[in-house]
């Protein structure tokens, strides 16, 4: 019986519902010293001096280290695979502690102490002398002449600018009779808000440094710690325990390099860094705020004649993942709604805000908001139903992208929209809500997205896997791909059990917690890649192990390996299906054979030179209270084509989480900064307005399972896609309910009040 497509319980579920699962903080040695970080209280400044006299006098304080003590070279932090091409390596623009303060919250010193209290008191007792400089918070303003220069190597603060030209936009728009639909769309700075803050601890053993960290990417972090400390990479061991969520924030080297370095400064004694929630918001990573300008030219038949997209991505103080996010966003447009004449430009710009990095969706929630808002405006301009407009213009079946090699093998978009529309009763509600008056108004909106699976061909895509046949006939499996809550380990166990012919996914023991000394090299959890890329190496390694098992079985059964198979953990003769030997018997015999003892293992790497389109849509039904300027989502449906599902219940749960994030992005979340000082204003969970379960309707997840032909298991991206299209669906539903197109997120009462007032729906009496 197939092990795939079954909603098996998570393999880590029991430990998680009993509280036994160990996260990094549950593993900190009791003698670890506390490292607490002094964050700059200026948005842009040079640290002239730090007086640590008072801090050092505090009992329990062991050492104070500052930006004047750290190695004098910069390092990159992005969780990207190493590139053999120096031109494609990540931007190295920060030091362990920085003299040039580039945002309010920058790391300028640490206090190492025996107790947390002493460390915190020590940080408070530091006296910093700043030379203040003007700062800039807005990406476009940062490009203006005379704007404060944030990094010497980047004139006008432009980290990178990329563009594309397809056909001839300028000529195409001269065609008479075109309808122009233009808009500015803007998304805010938001944060990942995994419930476990980032933290780590480090210690030295036999001259090497071990860092146990809440990270998504242990192998990549090892390289970055090596770079930051100037040590050979193999001097570093990274251990990733279970982690309390990541969502991309932990797809970056956060405080592992600093923690490792602090460890070396106290003779290799264990040290710990534990981010407070307030630090997580500001001094980890955030999602890029992006401003878009879109001009779409429509023919009288409602097809798109030409389109121009410009975007400015607010990078904040350090490059982190940098332009990759803006590039992904701007490059989504020509494939989403293909047209013959397009211009696209994307600028990623340094500002004096917290560094923006990877966050679930990697530029696509922003792009989807802008694109799908503009598309709804296009539909309105043509007097068309928004879904009908999309069906006319969206990526057709058979569409091929020559860069990624992706093909839209099925008509996934239209299938997803049709299913979603049926589930939410779109057509009837659209009609019902078309003529409303009164204070409470309802609307229904749709939005779509596409998403790449993995990062080929932009970066290396590789996956390694190791399988060991145990003496009881079970298999132990090590993957480089990390479990961060999504359920990866369970899906991997199902995939391995299927490929090996084991009786149950429970017969695969996944070594969950990666250790770079032991685990075969993998890149980690990002880019919605893991089920796809691990699929290749799991299948390949399973086939190698199976071959070894059957070859060994030949010496015991005298049957040809070609005539044997493994079914439900038993070696069978294919010709008549009869059972020859259980895997346990084989493993014991192989291990303890006095003539030919063998531990049956297999290990392999697979370099993936594919990518795959993942598709989906969101439908949102909202009720708007005009007087309260409040929009409430009363129903929401997401439909995804992520290929074949390995574990439908886990897939559905993954979609719920993404929808929740999209609702927060749409309605309430934003990190605010004081315009006068650049200080963050709401970097805590009370004022940030993360959704609670009172802010959600029931979340409805549905799937179109078109098997992906390039994948050995028919899968493609699902991790990030659910976060992409929810916010514009809400925006478009508010547009139907009120007639007001609001082009800036979040759609909270403050914004609705301004927009409704402007539209004359309410009056400030």
């Amino acid at each position: 019986m197939s092990k795939l497509g079954i909603s098996e319980p998570r393999i880590d579920g029991y430990d998680k519902v009993t509280g036994r699962t160990k996260y990094y903080e549950d593993r900190v040695p009791p003698d670890a010293l506390y490292v607490r970080i002094k964050h700059a209280e200026r948005a842009h400044a040079i640290v002239r001096a730090i007086d640590s006299t008072k801090a050092e006098a505090i009992p329990g304080v062991v050492k104070v280290l500052s930006c004047f003590d750290v190695p004098d070279w910069p390092f990159p932090t992005a969780g990207h695979p190493w590139s053999m091409d120096p031109g494609h390596q990540d931007v190295a623009d920060r030091q362990l502690l920085n003299r040039h303060v580039r945002y309010w919250g920058d790391d300028i010193a640490v206090v190492i102490a025996e107790t947390e209290l002493a460390a915190v008191q020590g940080v408070r007792a530091l006296e910093v002398e700043y030379e203040e400089m003007p700062f800039v918070l807005d990406a476009q303003k940062a490009m203006e002449p005379g704007a404060p220069q944030i990094h010497e190597r980047f004139p006008s603060n432009i980290l990178k600018h990329t563009s594309y030209r397809k056909g001839d936009y300028q000529s195409a728009i001269q065609t008479p009779g075109l309808v122009k639909v233009e808009g500015w769309y803007e998304t805010p700075t938001v944060q990942h808000c995994h419930i476990e803050n980032h933290g780590c601890f480090a210690y030295m053993e036999n001259g090497r440094i071990t860092v146990v960290s809440s990270t998504q990417i242990p192998h990549i972090v090892r390289r970055i710690v090596g770079q930051a400390l100037g040590r050979p990479w193999a001097d570093i061991q990274i251990i990733k325990p279970y982690i309390g969520g990541g969502f991309g924030n932990k797809q970056d080297a956060l405080y592992e390099p600093l923690c490792a370095w602090c460890c070396t400064q106290v003779g290799g004694r264990p040290v710990r860094i534990d981010c407070a929630r307030e630090e997580t918001f500001v001094s980890n990573r955030v999602r890029h705020a992006i401003r878009f300008h879109i001009v779409t030219w429509l023919r009288p038949n409602a097809t798109i004649a030409a389109r121009k997209v410009e975007l400015w991505s607010n990078q904040g103080a350090y490059a982190s993942h940098g332009h990759s996010i803006a590039a992904k966003a701007v490059n989504s447009f020509p494939q989403h709604y293909p047209c013959d004449n397009m211009e696209g430009d994307a600028w990623t710009v340094y500002t004096n805000r917290p560094a923006a990095g990877a966050m679930r969706g990697y530029g696509m929630p922003q792009a989807s908001f802008a694109d799908e808002s503009n598309i709804d405006d296009c539909a309105a301009a043509m007097g068309m139903d928004p879904m009908e407009f999309r069906q006319l213009n969206i990526m057709p079946q058979g569409f091929h992208d020559s860069f990624s090699g992706n093909t839209n093998y099925y008509d996934s978009y239209r299938e997803c929209m049709a299913k979603g529309a049926a589930l939410i009763d779109y057509a009837r509600k659209r009609e019902e809500y078309s003529h409303q008056s009164g204070n409470l108004r309802r609307g229904i909106g749709v939005a779509t997205f596409w998403y790449n699976t993995a990062v080929y061909p932009i970066s290396l895509e590789t996956s390694s896997n190791r399988m060991l046949l145990n003496l009881d006939g079970t298999v132990t499996m090590q993957c480089g791909e990390t479990e961060i809550g999504q359920g990866a380990d369970t899906a991997f166990a199902q995939m391995a059990a299927e490929a090996l012919g084991l009786a149950s996914y429970r017969d695969v023991h996944v070594v969950s917690c990666q250790d770079t000394d032991i685990t075969p090299t993998g890149l980690g959890a990002y880019a919605s890649r893991q089920t796809y890329v691990a699929g290749f190496s799991i299948r390949q390694t399973a086939e190698l192990l199976k071959e070894k098992i059957l070859n060994y079985a030949q010496s015991l059964t005298r049957q040809s390996p070609a005539c044997m198979d493994i079914v439900d953990g038993v070696i069978v003769r294919k010709t008549d299906g009869s059972a020859l030997m259980g895997l346990q018997e084989l493993a014991m015999t192989a291990q303890y054979n006095p003539v030919h003892s063998e531990h049956l293992t297999a290990e392999s790497s697979y370099t993936i030179r594919n990518n795959a389109y993942s598709f989906g849509c969101s439908f949102a039904e909202v009720e708007v209270d005009l007087a309260l300027c409040k929009a409430q989502v009363i129903r929401m449906v997401n439909v995804h084509d992520c290929g074949s599902l390995i574990n439908p219940a886990l897939a559905e749960a993954q979609v719920h989480g993404g929808m929740s994030m999209a609702i927060g992005f749409g309605l309430s979340e934003q990190l605010l900064f004081d315009e006068k000082t650049g200080r963050p204003l709401n970097n805590n969970l009370l004022d940030y307005k993360l959704s609670t379960c009172m802010d959600h309707p029931n979340l409805e997840a549905s799937f179109i399972e078109n098997p992906e032909p390039s994948s050995p298991y028919g899968t493609k991206a699902l991790g990030e896609p659910p976060a992409c299209s929810g916010a514009p669906a809400i925006r478009n539903a508010i547009l139907q309910a009120t007639g007001v197109a609001i082009d800036q997120l979040p759609l909270n009462p403050h914004r609705l009040f301004a927009e409704f007032t402007k539209a004359g729906l309410i009056h400030d009496s």
Binding site: S7, P9, R10, D12, G13, Y14, D15, K16, V17, T18, G19, R20, T21, K22, Y23, E25, D26, L117, H192, C193, H194, I195, E196, N197, Y242, I243, G244, G245, F247, A276, R277, I484, G485, Q486, G487, A649, L650, E652, A653, Q654, H656, G657, G658, M659, S660, M661, N684, L685, L686, L690, T692, C693, M694, H696, N698, L699
Partner: protein
């Protein structure tokens, strides 16, 4: 006032006493002195609910409850819910069955609030359940399956049909 004080309380059915720093939170005491590591730290200022435990049957964020206030109290953590031979309670099993667990970091706190809800013996509406659970933040699940797990267990305990 001395910086340390002896606290007597009952934790998961066992009478204990411990000398604690008067400035320590109940989270500190439970994690550091009793190694009850299901008590998680997500904000330490009472915003996220990850450290939630039951004190005399009532849910509290242990991070903003002083350890010394535990004097004479009955405290229950997730560890106390699991049977002596590792048996799961109905609500723990429901979290598994409903796929209400992802990263697992908010799970202990949520389950303990669920226990408080279930022990009232009342039948709550969905809106009421949402409000009762709203002191907990979760970024993985969208709360959907958590709500489902609590609701199903509530119905089962009351011997009622579930209207899903």
């Amino acid at each position: 006032m001395s910086q340390y004080k002896l606290v007597h309380c009952n934790i998961n059915g066992r009478d204990v006493e411990k000398m604690v720093d008067v400035r320590a939170s109940l989270t500190d005491m439970l994690r550091n002195d009793f190694r009850l590591l299901s008590v998680k730290k997500g904000c330490e200022v009472g915003e996220c609910g990850a450290c939630n435990v039951l004190i005399d049957g009532e849910a509290f964020n242990a991070c903003i409850y002083l350890a010394v206030w535990a004097e004479g109290k009955h405290i229950r953590t997730l560890e106390g819910l699991t049977g002596p031979n590792g048996e799961l309670s109905d609500i723990q099993q429901a979290f598994l069955d409903e796929t209400a667990v992802q990263c697992g970091f908010c799970t202990p706190g949520f389950i303990m609030t669920a226990v408080e809800i279930l022990e009232t013996g009342k039948l709550y509406t969905d809106d009421e359940l949402r409000k009762l659970l709203s002191g907990h933040l979760c970024r993985c699940t969208g709360y959907e399956n958590i709500l489902r797990a609590v609701k199903k267990t509530m119905y089962r305990r009351l011997g009622k049909q579930i209207d899903f």
